[in-house]
Amino acid sequence: MSVIEVHDLRKSFGRTAALTGLDLEVRPGEVHGFLGPNGAGKSTTIRILLGLLRADGGTVTVLGRDPWRDAVHVHRGLAYVPGDVSLWPNLSGGEVIDLLTRLRGGADEALLRRLVEDFEFDPRKRSRSYSRGNRQKVALIAAFARPAELYVLDEPTSGLDPLMDEVFRRHIERVRDEGAAVLLSSHMLAEVERLCDRVTIIRSGVDVETGTLQELRHLTRTTFRLTGADEAAARALPGAHEPRSGGDWVEFDVDAADVPAVLAGVAALRPAGLTVAPPSLEELFLHHYGDRP
């Protein structure tokens, strides 16, 4: 059974339609990327999943229940990290972590100590003096310090530096290996590419594509980069799209179906060097948002 099942979700704020028929499914044991530009409806969806907003239409099931009607019950099984973490200015970070974990039933103390250490977090400072990254650490530590069935993370790493990003990745993998599901919203392609098993791409309030990274790769082309090959011959290869060159290299894109044929053609050109790169999610995004570069 899926951890999150959303079908034909609709939500409007006044005359603005935020969600216009979104489908989303998250299964146990997967890290599910929820990818879209700012304003696509990611946070609205997440707030509906948490029962903070009420859906106008469609069905929403989280951990087998309706999050609007059974919010408290659903929340017992999940941990949430908001996109813009706001804390009580007078409380220290340590106090907020304790409060949030206690509300969920208490932290695993050993795990909590490890998280504070891993994230190199100073829990004694007052919340008002924390930077954005440190406020995010508070919410992340509180979320990870107690096992949950589902982790809902709304752009959780936007304030973290690369080292902390690595710590974050380790803990995501840990909870995934323990069988939990993770819904990770992001507008950063590299992050989703690095962390997620499956991805749902959302645009203007509706999902435009869902699948594993493998499946989504079929939708776009592979980039070939040759060095030390005859440029004119390379440009003329059947199936090579948008060729460009400079110095001693030439680069072109190939449709997935044409890859075997092009490979044979490339071999005949006897290049000195060859790089074949899978498309980055940047390219996936261009595919879906090509109409507004």
């Binding site: 707030r47 009580w88 007078n90 949030l100 969920r104």
Partner: protein
């Protein structure tokens, strides 16, 4: 961005809040001058009232100095110190909001990155205060002159109110530079307003009336108070603008100090440092109620200290009121006209009036504690708790419980302090009635807790302005309704009208039950409706 643009954007951001302050203070002014002109048109009555006040230190402490026996002097005596204190509070919150408040929220950092001087945020915050106080000065002058008071005195009163506001704006600007948070700066600067009111009160109480019972020389403590300086203009009497210069010079000096500190310190730094927090939470911090208590208890302590002070004043000064004017039959007659149908003694009326003030403070404390829900929701902290296994009802009830505790934090100290003070001056038989008088204020205060919660549930984004407006309108209807001769049904809209003024009146059990029923109904409805609405950021 230029400095002028910044000033304009500050004024624009105040387009709702400032008019509410200025309008409220002006309305109070106009209501008071209209009431005095209508009710005390007879010069003989005015003379009696002023003589009674002049003879009594308690009245002088609460209101000011009776500087003469004309209508204008009577209005000035009755209202100037209130207006100056309100202008001070308006300016304090305004300046702190745009200086340390912006710094707390990170807005100042954005401004600091533009090619403006480092002092621009402080300078424009002070500029906003200048504009606000100038407008306030003009509207107060109009509120006095249009009902029929002389123009010269009215303009001078408006100017004195504006200058008092500017001095407190300067104090707030310095506090915002020196203290680490907007909460601390607001607290310190608002306490200065209270201290200024207290100092001039002591000074006025120390004053000696001359042989004509006119009192124009207050004691030395009054000279330490910006409100005391404002009183020296003696509007409608000598109309002396010179004392305004002291206030203007002080305001300019304080503003210059704030700008100088701002030019030298790091962004976010302060002279007073903050202590480190706890590494782990106390064991008790494990529920929404514990959190709301943790967030709110400092303001409860503040309310309790203020209320205890008020109760002490009632107890200590009441006997001297009775001694000074109890024998004046004409004055008693005047009082009876203000409270129709009352046959109560003067002392009872005084105690009832002071504890009525405590009742209003209790309503304000309860409403303020309830409004905290809106800040929690708007800043996204409600989301953090409500995404944990905490139901909407449990979350809201935690705030309502602390709001009820805030009401108690005002009325318990007020009643107990009054009882103890009465005992200290040998009026032991008044102990019980003081406690009863404080207890009688509870139901109306609870109504404002329920009403504020209901506004929050239905119109979340308007919670703060609507709730304060309800409180302000209820105060005016309850306090001035009779004098302004408003229709009975309109006066009855104010919950304060249904509070029994013990010991001047008997307890009205029907009123108590009705108020409690309204409080309970609004609070219950608020919980039900909040569970059905979206969180509104």
């Amino acid at each position: 961005m230029s400095t002028a643009t910044l000033l304009a954007s500050r004024l624009l951001s105040e387009r709702w809040r400032l008019p509410l302050w200025i309008g409220g203070i002006t309305l109070l002014t106009a209501a008071s001058s209209t009431a005095v002109l209508a009710q005390f048109a007879d010069p003989e009555e005015q003379r009696v009232l002023l003589l009674a006040a002049a003879a009594n230190p308690a009245f002088r402490f609460l209101r000011g100095l009776p500087i003469g026996i004309g209508t204008g002097e009577l209005v000035f005596f009755q209202i100037f110190t209130y207006l100056a204190a309100l202008a001070g509070l308006m300016s304090t919150f305004l300046v702190v909001r745009h200086t340390r408040g912006d710094e707390d929220s990170g807005r100042t950092e954005l401004i600091a990155a533009t090619p403006l001087r480092r002092t621009a945020p402080v300078a424009t915050a002070l500029g906003t205060a200048v504009v606000a106080n100038l407008v306030l000065g003009v509207t107060v002058a109009l509120g006095l002159a249009l009902p029929g008071l002389p123009w010269r005195g009215s303009v001078l009163t408006g100017s004195a109110v504006a200058v008092s506001g500017l001095v407190f704006a300067g104090i707030a600007a310095v506090a915002a530079q020196v203290l680490p948070t907007s909460r601390a700066a607001n607290g310190a600067a608002a306490a200065t307003v209270g201290l200024a009111y207290l100092l001039r009160g002591i000074g006025d109480a120390m004053a000696q009336p001359d042989e004509r019972f006119v009192t124009r020389e207050s004691g030395w403590p009054s000279w330490l108070s910006p409100i005391g300086w404002g009183q020296r203009v003696e509007a409608y009497q000598t109309d002396n603008p010179l004392p305004l210069a002291i206030g203007i010079a002080t305001a300019v000096l304080l503003g210059a100090v704030a700008v100088a500190v701002a030019a030298r310190r790091d962004l976010g730094a302060s002279l007073v440092r903050e202590r480190a927090g706890r590494e782990r939470a106390r064991g008790s911090l494990r529920s929404p109620l514990a959190l709301v208590w943790r967030l709110s208890w400092p303001s409860l302590v503040g309310w309790a200290i203020g209320a205890a002070f008020l109760g002490t004043v009632a107890g200590l000064l009441a006997p001297s009121v009775a001694d000074a004017i109890g024998s004046n039959a004409q004055f008693l007659e005047l009082i009876r006209r203000l409270i129709p149908g009352s046959t109560a003694g003067l002392l009872d009326l005084f105690v009832a009036a002071i504890l009525g003030m405590a009742g209003f403070l209790a309503a304000a404390a309860g409403a303020q504690a309830t409004m905290r829900m809106r800040a929690e929701e708007a800043d996204g902290r409600a989301e953090l708790l409500l995404a944990a296994p905490v139901g909407r009802a449990r979350w809201m009830v935690a705030f309502l419980a602390v709001a009820v505790a805030s009401v108690a934090a005002v009325l318990v100290p007020a009643g107990v302090a009054a009882a103890v003070a009465f005992a200290a001056v040998g009026e032991q038989d008044r102990t019980g009635s003081s406690l009863a008088a404080a207890a009688a204020q509870v139901p109306a205060a609870l109504v404002f807790v329920g009403l504020t919660a209901l506004v929050f549930a239905v119109l979340p984004r308007l919670t703060v302005p609507v709730a304060w407006t309800l409180l302000g309108v209820s105060l005016i209807l309850g306090e001035y309704g009779t004098i302004l001769q408003l229709p009975e049904w309109m006066q009855d809209m104010s919950p304060f009208r249904h509070t029994s003024a013990i010991p001047a009146e008997d307890l009205d059990a029907g009123g108590v039950l009705a108020l409690l029923a309204v409080a309970l109904a609004t609070a219950t409805l608020a919980v039900l409706l909040f569970r059905r609405r979206d969180l509104a950021v």
